[in-house]
């Protein structure tokens, strides 16, 4: 609605009721298909399961806390039971002894469910090609997004989450009990490296390792002499 301040004079009328109604219509209503709304809503309200395996979980927990704040992406409702969650982040090494437990937890997640594989170990076994480690969680779980790193920075996990949200937002699930096909096809995964390489190759000025002032993270530290209150 449009607002304005006018001096009210007796006998003078304000804008007519029709105009107010039109303004209301253009601002406060949204026309969309129900399935689009549901896809949008789902993508912005993924509920992660509070689950961690090893080092990566610490970076995942860091993504929950203040500086990174996963709540900005609508995924802060972290549940302690798989039966209330629809996203599992496999954050860490998948051990042979733990794999049946991971499988059981995955089965208990609410449908439709998503899996983010976080870190090199979960992606492929990483540096641990060793008897006690499963060489990648995709040996037994369907993975939606792979986040590389050992461990990935919290920012990388958040990027993975955004990619997952984009993928979920494009999903159209049948809304009636009359189902046509089994399951919903999800978009093919594209490699971010391939997508971003041309843009990254344009970079010409890189911060050298010998001076810390250039590093983006330290810049604000050097500037702020007085303790910040964040």
């Amino acid at each position: 609605m449009r607002w304005r301040l006018v001096k009210v004079e007796p006998g003078e009328s304000m804008e007519g009721p029709d105009q107010v109604y039109d303004a209301q219509l253009s601002k406060g209503m949204l026309m969309a298909k129900l399935e689009d709304m549901i896809a949008w809503g789902r993508s912005k309200s993924l509920w992660p399961f509070n689950f961690g395996l090893s080092c990566c979980y610490v970076e995942m927990a860091t993504a929950f806390t203040s500086r990174h704040d996963i709540a900005r992406f609508g995924a802060e409702v972290i549940r302690a039971t798989p039966r209330q969650a629809d996203l599992i982040v496999i954050s860490g090494t998948v051990f042979r002894k733990m794999a049946p437990v991971v499988q059981l937890l995955y089965e208990q997640l609410l449908e439709p469910k998503c899996v983010i594989s976080m870190g090199s170990c979960a992606n492929s076994g990483g540096m641990f090609d060793v008897y006690s480690v499963v060489q990648g969680v995709d040996k037994f779980l369907p993975v939606d997004v792979y986040v590389p790193g050992c461990p990935p920075r919290p920012e990388a996990l958040l990027q993975g989450l955004i990619l997952l949200q984009e993928s979920v937002a494009q999903e159209r699930r049948p809304l009636s009990w009359v189902l046509d096909e089994e399951g919903t096809p999800r978009k093919l995964k594209t490699s971010q490296r391939d997508l971003r390489t041309p843009e990254r190759m344009k970079a010409t000025d890189l911060a050298g390792p010998s001076t810390v002032g250039d590093a983006p993270l330290s810049k604000d530290l050097l500037r702020a002499k007085s303790p910040r209150t964040d």
Partner: protein, 589 residues
């Protein structure tokens, strides 16, 4: 090793002489680089020897610090030792003497049996199970000798030289329904197997399975609880869900390329883990590290101690019910990690130490960042004192919960803040300064009651002491090289590889094959974030360790959980677990 040195060691006074006086010629002395007296005794007398060392001897050895095995079957260089297929070694610690002692027992392949010493040292229970699991050594008289790290239905003993190391050497992993069912069935907790009854005179016990995935067990860790109402009657910790085979890994990585694996042991400790490993290799290689490298190492290790303690502080408060503190502590940790990142390029696992020094010199401007942090942190800590330590609810949840005294701590192999919380001033950086710590001024924080609250208080005070050390590092950073000029320094200083062909050849060899470390044995311990962390390295004159034993502090700490939680409620158990401050990689490796 020359005859003269062996003779000298045998004649020396101290514990070796005392053992000789008691057990006569049954003792065979081995000389190791770490100067820890190492004595081989016949396996029939092991219990007697342990009893003697723990109780009868003057200035006894009250702590079983480590126990594991060595598969000697393909080792070439061991002329100075009795013949053995499987060796079991026992590492003891004496507070009164401030000395370690290593006892070894030789076993034959077809008769790998030795008496259990659990009746002498209760802490031997888990260590013997681990040695059984990894080497197939039978410990006779052990109360419940079963696998501890590998799944219950695992075939073979991984640390035997004939067990495959790589997952890709074994059948590909697949999860059939049958496999999942059989694995789950094998993990089922059966009270009778642990000597528990399901009912008492007036009550039926309830059994609760906590873990292996539970928000407050800090990783993949499981405890089976026998409950009378909400009171814990008995607890059975079950570990091995985080077994990453780091010891086996050492036997196939070169001395140099193993460094990144150490970072991932105590994954909150970062470069602190590199320290004992590279120090052990340097001792074996005969490298003297320059002063600048020593101070850089200490500074980074202390920064990581603060980082680890901050995670502890926040999660401890959270586990006893305070939601907010963890957010503050993680912000501080981010600040700290930005310094780590500026210096090393990494956050959690920089793998920044090298054999003979560190990766590269400090960047320009590092001192401003570190000084800023040292100015900033104390005010925050003062704020946290009010928010956490003086909070009435937190106190009621943690004071007098899960307490133990010094004697009990030693009995169970507790080191680090958990030991100092009982009042014993026992910090390796002071009592046996290593890597340059003798040059720094700092205090050893202690507390008196050894309860959950005190363990927190000690760690908080340690953050302040670490800040003191870090400030001294900034103020007195020595000039000079950050790497030793030694042919086994890996990689050698870059300027020299560009100038002289010999260094370049060494560089090629060290990178392609790895440095060759002379045959020797050496164990180095540091005061890590969670307690004492040792790397016991055995070289057979190759480019890879022959055996790489990692003694981690959290393994015995978890073993103690039943002892300190009986009679408490489940909520108290959560507080106790939080106060131990462990990560599962530091338990299962």
């Amino acid at each position: 090793m020359s005859e003269a040195t062996i003779h000298e060691a045998a004649e020396s006074p101290g514990v070796v002489g005392e053992l000789r006086a008691r057990f006569g010629d049954d003792c065979h002395v081995q000389v190791t680089l770490d100067a820890i007296p190492t004595v081989w005794v016949p396996r029939e007398r092991i219990k007697e020897v342990m009893g003697f060392l723990k109780t009868e001897i003057d200035q006894p050895y009250p702590m079983l610090y480590d126990l594991s095995g060595i598969d000697e079957r393909v080792r070439q260089h061991r002329d100075d030792q009795p013949s053995s297929d499987f060796t079991v070694f026992y590492h003891l610690l004496s507070i009164d003497r401030n000395e370690d002692l290593r006892i070894k027992v030789a076993l034959a392949e077809n008769d790998a049996r030795v008496a259990s010493i659990t009746s002498v040292f209760p802490a031997a229970n888990w260590y013997e199970r681990e040695a059984f699991d990894m080497f197939g050594v039978d410990f006779e008289g052990h109360p419940n000798l079963r696998r501890i790290l590998t799944p219950p239905n695992w075939k073979g003993h991984p640390l035997r030289k004939d067990h495959p190391a790589r997952a890709t050497e074994m059948d590909p992993f697949s999860m059939s329904e049958d496999f999942q069912d059989s694995q789950q069935e094998a993990l089922r907790f059966i009270p009778e197997e642990w000597g528990m009854s399901t009912k008492a005179k007036h009550t039926d016990f309830m059994f609760l399975n906590l873990g292996p995935n539970h928000p407050s067990v800090h990783g993949v860790f499981r405890i089976a609880l026998q409950l009378d109402g909400e009171i814990i009657v008995e607890a059975v910790p079950d570990i091995g869900y985080h077994h990453r085979a780091s010891e086996k890994m050492g036997e196939r990585q070169s001395w140099h390329t193993y460094i990144p694996y150490t970072d991932r042991i105590d994954y909150l400790g970062g470069v602190m883990n590199n320290m004992p490993y590279v120090m052990a290799v340097e001792k074996m290689a005969g490298i003297e590290v320059p002063d600048r490298a020593k101070v850089i190492r200490i500074m980074l290790a202390e920064l990581f101690r603060i980082s680890s303690h901050l995670v502890f502080y926040g999660t401890f408060a959270q586990d006893v019910g305070q939601m907010s503190p963890v957010f503050y502590m993680f912000v501080d940790r981010e600040r700290l990690l930005s310094i780590i990142e500026a210096i090393t390029g990494g956050r959690m696992h920089p793998s920044w130490f090298r054999i003979g020094g560190v990766t590269q010199d400090l960047p320009d401007g590092w001192d401003t960042m570190v000084r800023d942090f040292c100015d900033y942190m104390p005010k925050r800590l003062a704020q946290y004192d009010k928010m956490v330590l003086q909070n009435g609810i937190l106190k009621r949840r943690s004071v007098d919960i899960g307490a133990y005294n010094t004697a009990e701590a030693l009995e169970w192999g507790v080191t680090g803040p958990g030991l100092r919380a009982t009042g014993l001033e026992w910090d390796l950086r002071k009592i046996r300064p290593y890597g340059g710590y003798d040059q720094f001024e700092f205090d050893i924080p202690t507390a008196q009651n050894g309860d959950t609250y005190d363990r927190c208080v000690v760690r908080v005070e340690e953050i302040r002491q670490s800040l003191r050390i870090i400030r001294q590092c900034v103020d007195n950073m020595p000039a000079g090289p950050y790497k030793a000029h030694h042919r086994l320094t890996t990689p050698p200083p870059r300027e020299r590889t560009m100038q002289d062909i010999e260094t370049l050849i060494q560089h090629f060899l060290n990178v392609s094959w790895g440095p060759v470390i002379p045959p020797s044995e050496c164990s180095v311990t540091v005061e890590a974030t969670k307690g004492w962390n040792s790397y016991y390295e055995i070289s057979d004159g190759g480019t890879m360790p022959y055996r790489n034993r990692i003694r981690v502090p959290s393994f015995p700490h978890l073993q103690m959980i039943p002892f300190i939680s009986r009679g408490f409620m489940i909520a108290d158990l959560i507080a106790i677990i939080a106060s131990i401050d462990f990560v599962m990689a530091d338990v299962d490796r």
